[in-house]
Symmetry: D2
Subunit: 340 residues, 4 copies
């Protein structure tokens, strides 16, 4: 039985606490939040110890793992203290405010042989798992592009812009889906109400020619969560808001023959075939994720969304922020660090 | 009665010919196309003279106006010849291959007091007209952004890339909707099957802070024609594929108060009101447009989509192409020329 | 503080228990369920007394109201015992298995001045409340029809057919929306897997000429919850599955002029106006309902979904069942009983 | 080359004329319409003889087949005259006003060895053809039900009610899809603006246990053309308004085991599998149909939608009308006549 403390009981913490209660191997040992209001809600919904200072959770001998759902700029301090106190750590996305911090956490966890995992929840959805499976099986063929629209009204964040709040989801999904590395990024954005961008577009260039485009916006009148993935064999539409049929796979594409005789002659033949929507697991992603966290702690295995995946996503966000400050000037990557 | 020759009877020409037949003031005097197959189709559907060489239409004393629906790179030569022969001209989008050509046509038409109009069809739809009306009435408030997704499978063009084929529609709409000028453009794109980009993203920066983002793609598994327009008072979703309710107006938004005490404190209150879908004219846009063409010829009035609007759109495409070659490096505009 | 016992912790009981915990005036005093498995779940999620026999809840001096979420055929026995023990009662739909039982409960509650309320949850949704408001304001004009499709795959019930399981929702909504009485009912249905119908259609005829049509089906491949309401001034589409825009109001209709000269000449002019989707409360209906239950207990007021509304709905189901056994032969109503 | 006269150039006639022009084997020899306005439109769009009296078409030695798109109550007189004059006949749906008339036409055509075909257009759509193919291949298993919603605003007809105008489409589809015979029908309906019903519901009972339910309405605020087909192996959703993916096939269903020990115990297990949307032909149905008409004339073959299919559909409409007058009282069928 793994004794878990949830640190931060604002927007996401309640989901962590609820799911921990539902996982067989886990025990919700403590909830920590600085707000009296949040503690009141926590006490009403859970039969556990509720404290005001996260240091109590880190210090407690009755806690063996912590889940950190506090504002992004506090992740590093809390996670580092927890690792130093010998606790396993699951930390919200974005993992840290910069890649240096992420690397320090990775090293601290490695040194102490502790599990360090990042809460890239979408990676654990039935939909994203199914897309990965299709890519692995070669169903999509060569990947051409990933094009995501992730917009809605609110919630405006106070300490991060829309890239760090929404684009982070797609970057985590891309990090999971693709084996290739990003080689450059270009981003544009606008803040209509202050210094933080509430609308941004991001282009990622991958080795091998694939590109990704992310459209994120806190100021849209409707909620859209739609991703198109173009491959040479099949193309996918992934709509996370569909109650069923979240994934549709299209047997569509083009075959192109360059005619040698005529310079400008491009002969394109279109393939218009069936559409297929695979049944996907409807299990709550967070539950799957916390079971995976528990299994990694138990077996000493590396999580799918390890510290390295958190680091890679933070590096992409850092470079994108740099580009955004230069109105879309493309920024190149050094090779991203992967776990040895 | 205006005697009209339609030059080019490929994809769009048949629509021009059909609509000309339906407009009271117009008479379909001739169809010209170099392809025997196209001429066969034209003869079957219309009771008019069908010829192989467009020069016959330009030369004919029985023709007073021509409509040019040939490949983009031929527009300039044909339009110039027609103007020089004293014919009024309606030319397909994009007006010409570059802005120098567009300027020459504008000057030629002005010199001869001929009507020169560009076929920016979307400008004449009930939907775009209604959006313009709402902007003029101040219903949307300050405009924050225009965000368009215009993707589908095919038709791959042979002589222009996806920007010149699809983004041109949004640029024409923007030119019509906005009174402000673009100050810079940034574009990215990829050609998966040769030298012409089949997927591109374009960011436009306008004086006054508004931005536009266009996502165009010939290689998407589904057809999407959706535009979000964010304003301070109302926001609009314009979905051209909806058979009815093409425009939805949302009484949604945010009010932001910067709290003076706390530096990072951003207080956002969300306004979640009704949605309203105005009834719009369902008249075919091309019919409205051709009636307007006829009225301009008759009255000597300047068309809504005059040569200058065609020129401005071509200039935006030129700058976007330049940026695209530099992987999104932003290109600034000199002031675009407006009719004096 | 009203001490409430939830009886039955299967599909719906957990929702009642959760909402009771969230209502200020209420206290979840007890949960009763005969199944050990259900009790285990109840204990994990709530900090309250959990018992196996519902009689303990009825008997307990620490309980002042019970909520009954057991199978339909047990409602009468439990509700009657609870009323006789002096407890207020909220009972699941359908209230009882027949109208005689419903009348007995009404009389028992009246005699003892106890609150008797039926859990017609949909009546408390923002959507249905808004429709009622529009009807009261005359926005819809004369009502022509109510046409509902309520289909999905499962859950096949064991003790009631699809009318008593799904049509009951629409009958409760109609009972709330309309002031007029049903005068006849006709129903058809089929049971593909045994004696209980899993697919049925029901037509209701109201005084004043309005009709209602309900299409209910447990064996449909997709979930549909769509209702069209036709009125002389406006028409409504109510789609309960839409995350937002659940209600759309159409300014559409026809005006008919019978031409006197020609017998068969029917001159219809169509009115095609705007569509409008009012913002509706997104508060959970069950929460609104339980607050109303608490208020009625406190103030001695008659609930919106009183025992009489439960009785009227059961009478409609009884007559519909009778018609269904006669392959749609219409059954007439005596006047339904309303509270004096 | 078959010389064809189109009789009636109102709503549907123009489509017939346009398609005849596009079929290789056919020649549009004449158009007849009593209205000067209609003749004006016909003359503008077609290069053919246009006359005012349908008798000219029937009499003309230059016409070998007629297509009748006049009001329903005139079909019989015109079709009979045409057959007696030795012309092949394609007649709009409903074929005639009653089954006696339909039988007379069938006999007349048989006697003279002429092709008599009914314009049940939907039968020739790629969607309906694909559903038939799936039924034939056993993909759907045993058929449980066919449930269609066919509603919109207008067009109110003057000489037939909504059953004869809209339900006729589904009856024609059912006649094509199913090999079993209807054994009884029940119908309800209301006329809000006069003697003709503008809203109706129809239940059909087939030998073998399958049922069909049709919901037709001229007074609905939105257009819906959706059909659910439930089978034991797969279920189908057919939405005619979808530009693509008109047909979705669901690998969903239930398996039921009656438990012997417990009387009321119904054990249902749900099968929730993939969804699949087959590519269907996008060829215009009317074109396919007219090619088939031409082929039947040429080869002397029996049309898919022969006079007998027209007769069966008219008989279903007759019985449904009878039931409707008796508020849904079920009417039984004698065996419908099939071609020997």
């Amino acid at each position: 039985m793994i004794a878990i403390a949830v640190i931060g009981y604002g927007y996401w913490g309640p989901n962590l606490a609820r799911c921990v209660s539902q996982v067989a191997d886990c025990h919700l040992a403590m909830i920590a939040d600085g707000s009296a209001d949040a503690r009141g809600r926590a006490e009403r919904h859970h039969n556990t110890v509720v404290v005001g200072d996260w240091r109590e959770a880190v210090r407690s001998p009755h806690v063996s793992a912590v889940m950190i759902a506090t504002p992004a700029h506090t992740h590093f301090e809390i996670a580092l203290a927890a690792l130093q106190a010998g606790k396993h750590v699951l930390v919200e996305k974005p993992m840290t405010s910069n890649s240096t911090q992420a690397l320090i956490l990775i090293e601290e966890a490695a040194k102490r042989k502790l599990t360090l995992m990042v809460d890239h929840t979408f990676v654990y959805t039935g939909a994203v798992q199914k897309i990965r499976e299709m890519i692995d099986q070669g169903k999509l063929g060569d990947l051409f592009y990933y094009d995501s629209t992730r917009v809605n009204l609110g919630l405006f964040q106070r300490d991060v812009n829309v890239l760090w709040d929404l684009a982070v989801h797609d970057l985590a999904i891309l990090d999971f889906l693709l084996d290739c590395e990003p080689i450059a990024v270009s981003a544009n954005g606008t803040g209509h109400f202050g210094r933080l961008e509430n609308l941004a577009h991001l282009n990622l260039y991958f080795s091998g020619g694939m590109t990704a485009h992310l459209n994120v916006n806190w100021l849209a009148p409707v909620k859209i969560r739609q991703t198109l993935i173009g491959g040479s064999r099949h193309m996918v539409v992934y709509d996370d808001l569909q109650p069923s049929e979240k994934i549709k796979v299209y047997d569509k594409g083009v075959d192109v023959v360059d005619s040698p005789e005529e310079l400008y002659q491009l002969l394109v033949s279109y393939r218009m075939g069936d559409m297929w929507s695979p049944q996907i697991s409807s299990k709550e992603a967070l539950l799957t994720e916390i079971e995976h966290f528990a299994a990694c702690i138990r077996d000493g295995a590396t999580p799918i969304t390890s510290g390295f995946s958190g680091l890679r996503v933070v590096e992409m966000l850092e470079k994108a922020s740099l580009s955004l400050q230069q109105r879309g000037h493309p920024i190149e990557f050094n090779q991203l660090r992967r776990a040895s």
